[in-house]
């Protein structure tokens, strides 16, 4: 990775409350979106602001997840609270950048949970939209195609030899914008391509229209099932475990003792 993200660029993102307000605004709704239940582009967008707000209210981390993020946010390596300029940049998680679009069920699943995780750990969360006025269909955005093309390019998903503008992206940083961990799209245990591929496979004698209607209904039901929340919480576990591993391996590399036990003061 070339340059680090700057504090100024990060600060241009939206807080969760700002993003929810934006999601319901005319400015957002006039942008091209997508409805998975119909497999179709939709303009104006569906208004997901109420859904996101309600989901956030219900997305509290478990007590152990809250304790884990608090422990991670209290690791040494940075200056005392309010200070700056330490030469020892350690793996103390401090900030989260997310790239999202509300038409994405993966975003609607994870964003409220990650916002609650950030709140529990006292992390600063800033949210950026992926698209401009039209939905990016393939590849990565050119500068000018999206106000956040620079971030989408920087945090593109490398998969099977190609680069995708996958959402959500959640990038965790220390206070100096050293990247600690990047979560992309969905937790590893959710084999989405396999499941959705199965649901969208035409059944014997099914027309394309009939397949779309059946698969759209099946996917809609899946998104309303309790497994949607099982995967959201699994994403939080995956993030916590990866950040924890980063702390332990980093501490060992400098010869210091592992920071186990209760959170450090």
């Amino acid at each position: 990775m070339a340059d680090r993200l700057t504090a100024q660029r990060f600060a241009q993102g939206m807080s969760f409350a700002d993003y929810v307000a934006f999601a319901g605004s005319p400015e957002n709704l006039k942008r091209q979106g997508f409805d998975i239940r119909r497999f179709a582009h939709v303009t104006p967008r569906l208004d997901w602001s109420g859904f996101l707000k309600d989901r956030h209210a219900k997305a509290a981390p478990t007590p152990e997840q809250a304790a884990a993020i608090q422990w991670l946010a209290k690791q040494p390596g940075g200056p005392a609270e309010g200070g700056s300029g330490s030469s020892v940049a350690g793996p103390r998680v401090s900030k989260v950048l997310m790239i999202v679009e509300d038409w994405s069920s993966d975003v609607r699943r994870d964003l409220p949970y990650i916002a609650r995780l950030a709140e529990a750990g006292g992390l600063e969360l800033r949210i950026f939209v992926r698209d401009g006025e039209t939905m990016l269909m393939k590849g990565l955005p050119e500068p000018g195609q999206s106000p956040n093309a620079d971030l989408v390019q920087r945090y593109a998903n490398d998969k099977n030899g190609q680069r995708f503008a996958t959402v959500p992206v959640a990038v965790f940083f220390d206070r100096d914008f050293n990247e600690l961990y990047r979560y992309i799209e969905y937790p590893a245990i959710y084999h989405k391509d396999r499941l959705i591929g199965h649901l969208r496979t035409p059944r014997a004698g099914e027309s394309d229209e009939a397949m779309k209607a059946r698969a759209g209904a099946a996917i809609g039901a899946l998104l309303e099932s309790p497994f949607y929340d099982v995967w959201a919480r699994a994403a939080v576990d995956e993030i916590l475990s990866a950040l924890h591993e980063r702390v332990i391996l980093a501490e060992g590399s400098v010869g210091g003792p592992p920071a186990w036990g209760p959170p450090r003061p």
Binding site: T62, P63, E64, Q65, A67, A68, W71, P187, A188, I189, Y190, H191, R194, L195, H198, L199, A217, A218, A221, L222, E224, S225, P226, F227, Y228, D229, V230, W231, R233, A234, D237, E238, L240, S241, A242, H244, E245, I248, L249, G252, G255, G256, P257, P258, W260, G261
Partner: protein, 238 residues
Amino acid sequence: MAESPVTPQRFAQGMTFEQYVAYIGTPENLAREGSTLAGSAPRKDWSAFMRARYAKTRLTDAQVASMRWLAKQPGGPARLLVISEDWSSDCRRDVPYLQRLADAGGLELRIFNRDGRSLLKGAPDPASSPNADLMAHYMSARDGQRYASIPVAAFFDRDFNELYRYVEFPAIYHKDRLVAEIRGPRAGETAEQTKARGGTDFFAMLESPFFDVWADAAIAEILSALHERCVLAGGRHG
């Protein structure tokens, strides 16, 4: 795959969770060889720990609803076989959560010891372990070798068709990498100091909140895998 030794009769020989917890504290169990990071050791009585851990373990509403949905599907999970040893931190982490999962779905759970009077070394041997038949069937394979990893949690439908097998720890917990780091020597440490510090740090990790984060991740991994199996077989939501 070899023919499964898990028949209704064999399954019924296992212990319920309550029986297992009671057994852990018995002289019979405590007389068996145990293990710590350093190797063979007398067993510690973990019965109170297991009872307390079960009492405070709560699955999330979504996990409970997911397990209930799975258990109601045609060919859904109905029975859960667990191979465990109380000296294993992975077993102590997961077995109480597995019982909660069984509670949620109304699954019949039966627990079997891995070892006999001595720790298992090498391949399971019927001469030294009463459950060698089960352990031999559920050996894990890694890097071209076979291991008697525990816990094993094998999920079956009513007819004892195996649906899914969870082994040792969730995929997000990179235990080998972490433990190697924790137990690795620090600059200026003697071998004795490394051993003492590594042990202290490892056991402190088991008391950290990450122990439960990984237990939660194991439940999510199991539910997601059972769900995938069900959907690919034609199961529907709604």
